[in-house]
């Protein structure tokens, strides 16, 4: 086939019709060839977006059969082991979807897998943005929307997996109630309002249903829209190198390359979810049986994103205070309140505030579009790693019964170790990460200072073997040289010894101290181990015995 020379009628006709009414031509002219930078980590957010679309598609399918009622019915479907068993309408209709609707089980499993993938890809995407410093000006709003999205996704997950009203989800609901009622002053109100009275009541499933299919996804959809539009308008960040700087975008055009790549990524995500839904069983509700507050199965585990809350509940020592003794007020069940609110609060608040705290410390008000390499901001990377370890320990200990059973460790030991690790782990992670970052900066400096090992071994006339080092290719050198010191506040005292405004008082002094340690150049690039630039050869073999030969 030959190439197109004019736009076919079938496209130009409707296009003119639309442009006459919308004036979309200007928008298309600007945006059809919009450049998108290319890096595999930029796909993580896309995976989250596509998982959400899959959730909407599969979820809509499920609503066509699901009945969010808690009325007691006697099961009369085709799953024989539960025939004649009393259960809620919600559970019966979940069984119907699984066993009496063709493709129903597939859609249910895909919905659940897509939910896990949604939260997981959001988390990894968020880590990517954090470690590369892509949340910095002008993208703080995008970041804040992202933090809200993650929080809402957890709520969406919680309301979703409670809906089938099976024995496992019921345990989750019971824990939710136990946590809600423990809150000071408002706890009983919240639970009575949520459950329409005492637990479990007859309302919570239908209420969770309206939250799960209408309110939360509505907000999610709106915020995801805003998130994507902001990314579009502000243009994507890019990696250093390949001629990228803060004033340009380097990459592939939206039409046709990026558009098709994004489409392929959507299909890959969809295929992954479909494959998991086909071959990996998830949440087999028919095995658990209907919910009954008197029963529970051992080894009950929530979905992975709730694991850190489960772990923190398990780790907490049994503290409870009665502020006013026997009076009917003042009970503070700290063993519930603290683990339920504190880790989540620390993580979410920390995430939301980080861009602003960092700017307060560095005084960096520039608009930045080139990503940091994580090693080049070692304190940020260390803070991120200690947060991961904090979260990770809580998450792991959320399954301490499984750990204990599978590895033959005493259950109590896992808890005691966890209590120590959750405090010590983040500190160790900070120190180790900081050292690794400096080490990696040194190796970058070595590449600039010494060059790259070429793999070519030479024998010198006096018998010594050396490996020839050559300069790295331009793209590598560009990306290494894009490193710049983390900005610092100007803290010089004036002639009278008075520090600048904003650096006085205890808070100002703290700010100055933090700025000094957070910012600055830790390992200068052009100082590769103190060797000169022309020293681009390393002794590889043979120099061990007679050092005098190589030292001139």
């Amino acid at each position: 086939m030959s190439e197109l020379t004019s736009v076919p009628k079938a496209i130009s006709g409707p296009s003119s019709f639309l442009d006459d009414r919308l004036g979309a031509g200007n928008f298309l002219k600007r945006n059809l060839r919009k450049i998108f930078p290319d890096h595999w980590t930029y796909l993580l957010g896309e995976v989250a977006l596509y998982s959400f679309i899959i959730l909407l598609l599969t979820g809509t399918f499920l609503t066509l059969w699901f009945k969010p009622g808690m009325e007691h019915v006697i099961y009369d479907g085709s799953y024989a082991p539960l025939k004649g068993v009393g259960m809620s309408q919600a559970y019966a209709s979940s069984l119907e979807i699984s066993f009496d609707v063709r493709g129903g089980l597939l859609m249910r499993q895909m919905h659940h897998w897509a939910a896990l993938l949604f939260v997981a890809s959001m988390m990894v995407h968020m880590l990517r943005v954090f470690f590369m410093g892509a949340y910095r000006k002008p993208r703080e709003l995008t970041w804040l929307i992202g933090v809200i999205l993650l929080t809402l996704a957890l709520a969406e997950g919680l309301t979703g997996y409670s809906l089938p009203d099976d024995l496992l989800s019921g345990a989750g609901l019971r824990i939710t109630e136990g946590v809600a009622i423990s809150l000071p002053l408002v706890g009983t109100y919240i639970t009575f309002f949520l459950f329409g009275g005492e637990y479990p009541g007859m309302d919570v499933i239908s209420r969770f249903y309206s939250l799960h299919i209408l309110l939360i996804p509505g907000i999610l959809l709106a915020l995801i829209g805003a998130h994507v539009v902001l990314t579009w308008v502000q243009k994507h960040t890019q990696m250093p190198g390949r001629g990228a700087n803060n004033h340009n975008v380097v990459g592939a055009p939206f039409y046709p390359a990026f558009m098709l790549k994004a489409g392929a990524m959507f299909l890959f995500t969809f295929a992954l979810v479909a494959g998991l839904g086909t071959f990996a069983q998830i949440n087999p509700i028919w095995i658990f049986g209907p919910y009954n507050p008197a029963d529970i199965s051992a080894g009950s585990q929530p979905d992975f994103y709730m694991g850190f809350l489960e772990g923190s509940l398990r780790l907490m020592p049994a503290w409870e205070i009665n502020l006013f003794g026997t009076a009917h007020a003042g009970t503070l069940p700290l063993s519930v309140i603290i683990p339920a609110l504190l880790p989540m609060g620390i993580i979410m608040t920390g995430l939301a505030l980080y861009p602003f705290l960092e700017r307060w410390v560095t005084g960096d008000h520039r608009a930045l579009h080139v990503s940091d390499r994580p090693r080049n901001n070692p304190h940020r990377t260390s803070i991120g790693m200690s947060a991961i370890v904090f979260y990770g320990v809580l998450w792991l200990l959320g399954a301490n019964d499984e750990l204990s059973a599978n590895f033959q460790i005493s259950l109590n030991v896992t808890t005691y170790v966890g209590r120590v690790l959750v405090l010590v782990g983040p500190v160790l992670a900070y120190i180790i990460t900081y050292r690794i970052c400096l080490g990696l900066q040194r190796s970058d400096a070595a590449v600039i200072g010494h060059g790259v090992e070429s793999g070519v071994i030479k024998r010198l006339p006096h018998g010594e073997f050396i490996e020839v080092h050559t300069a790295p290719i331009d793209t590598v050198e560009d990306s290494l040289r894009a490193k710049e010191p983390v900005p610092m506040l100007p803290v010089e005292e004036d002639s009278a010894g008075i520090p600048p405004k904003g650096m006085r008082g205890p808070l100002g002094k703290l700010r100055a101290a933090m700025s000094k340690s957070y910012g600055g150049e830790k390992i200068p690039l052009d100082d590769g181990h103190g060797h000169g630039h022309d020293d681009d050869e390393h002794a590889a073999v043979g120099s061990g015995d007679d050092k005098s030969i190589t030292r001139h």
Partner: protein
């Protein structure tokens, strides 16, 4: 440095020797294969026609796989009925497998298309300042001021204040409307009254039997006679009432009387049979696991562990209070009955609970 060394700083092309563990030529640090740029458009690298034609065949194959898989999906949907776990499993495998293959075919096809048929791009576009320039900002500020003054909002405080006054209660209406989320429409003090009692309270009017969960049978004390035995027990007449079960479910344990320690109220036992609330005092899971040799009750949710022989006091885990004990006895026919309601609220702690255990102790001594 000697002259000799200067000579050999350039890599010797004649005898290159690779050392294991060092990067091979052509890896990222040393530089990759050269790509040919399109002469017409800088930054657009067009692949050669021969490899593109080869890729086109692969893409066509992928798209054909998608076509066939989608057809297979429809056929298998019609062919395989669901119902039994086996046929549902087959249907799931058939529908899911063909769907996965169809999506994967399209995804792989498009990827090969983009990577091997379409050009590689390294295009550069300028970024523009997001912030508007100063003059525009000033113009907007002027427009804002003009509008604010024209509206009279600033100049007329009566208008401004009554508008604020009007909007405050209006904003509260949605919250007021949510008040009936609690169907009982009670105040907080009544929440506490409800939470303090279980359906066992009815035993004061007419003795309530202890019923084995699941079988629905009452328990004759004489039949429950093997020490170490444990039963999950529900109140008579409430076997299927979720709200009642969420608070009133018991675990019943048979001890040798000499095994019981002072923490257990022996007056509330019958012949070594003790009844505790099954609802964990941490966040309300059923504390369902029992270890006969140690007399430990374990909650599977967060591993709170209670010593059943010693008043179910907490020996491990996040629960702060013992499982409440129920006063039990037997009726004329020898069936176990409850003699009273719990004397403290069961289940998780809440603000209005207070130190109910202390209150109960004071009540019993007074």
């Amino acid at each position: 440095m000697t002259d000799n060394e200067h000579e050999i700083e350039q890599p010797d092309e004649r005898v290159p020797k690779r050392v294991i563990g060092t990067p091979a030529p052509g890896t990222s640090m040393l530089g990759a294969k050269e790509t040919v740029e399109d002469a017409d458009v800088p930054g657009v690298m067009i692949p050669d026609e021969k490899s593109a034609r080869k890729a086109e065949k692969i893409v066509a194959l992928c798209f054909t796989i998608t076509f066939l898989s989608a057809i297979a999906f429809i056929i298998l949907y019609v062919q395989i009925q669901v119902g039994t776990p086996e046929s549902t499993g087959q249907s799931n495998l058939a529908l899911g497998g063909t769907l996965t293959l169809a999506l994967l075919g399209l995804a792989v096809g498009i990827t090969v298309w983009v990577r091997s048929i379409m050009p590689k791009y390294n295009l550069i576009q300028e970024r523009h300042d997001l912030a508007t320039d100063e003059t525009t900002r000033e113009e907007v500020a002027d427009t804002f001021l003009q509008g604010a003054n024209e509206s009279g909002f600033v100049k007329r405080p009566l208008l401004r204040r009554t508008l604020l006054l009007a909007s405050a209660p209006l904003g509260l209406l949605p919250l007021v409307l949510l008040r009936d989320l609690d169907n009982s429409k009670m105040t907080g003090a009544n929440f506490n009254k409800l939470l303090r009692h279980t359906v066992w309270a009815e035993t004061r009017k007419k003795p309530m039997k202890l019923i084995v969960e699941g079988t629905g049978q009452p328990i004759r004390a004489a039949d429950f006679n093997s020490p170490g035995g444990i039963l999950s027990v529900v109140p008579e007449g409430y076997e299927h009432d979720m709200n009642a079960l969420a608070k009133a479910t018991l675990i019943l344990i048979k001890f040798r009387p000499e095994d019981l320690k002072p923490g257990t109220n022996k007056n509330w036992t019958h012949d070594g049979i003790v009844a505790y609330s099954k609802i964990c005092t941490h966040v309300g899971c059923p504390a369902a696991l029992y270890e006969q040799t140690t007399h430990h009750i374990l909650c599977p949710c967060h591993q709170s562990t209670f010593d059943a022989a010693d008043g179910a006091k907490v020996i491990f885990g996040p629960a702060a209070r013992p499982l409440p004990q129920l006063n039990i006895g037997v009726d004329a026919e020898g069936f176990l009955i409850a003699k009273d309601d719990f004397n403290v609220p069961v289940g998780p702690s809440y603000w209005e609970r207070g130190d109910a255990e202390q209150a109960a102790r004071e009540g019993s001594t007074a």
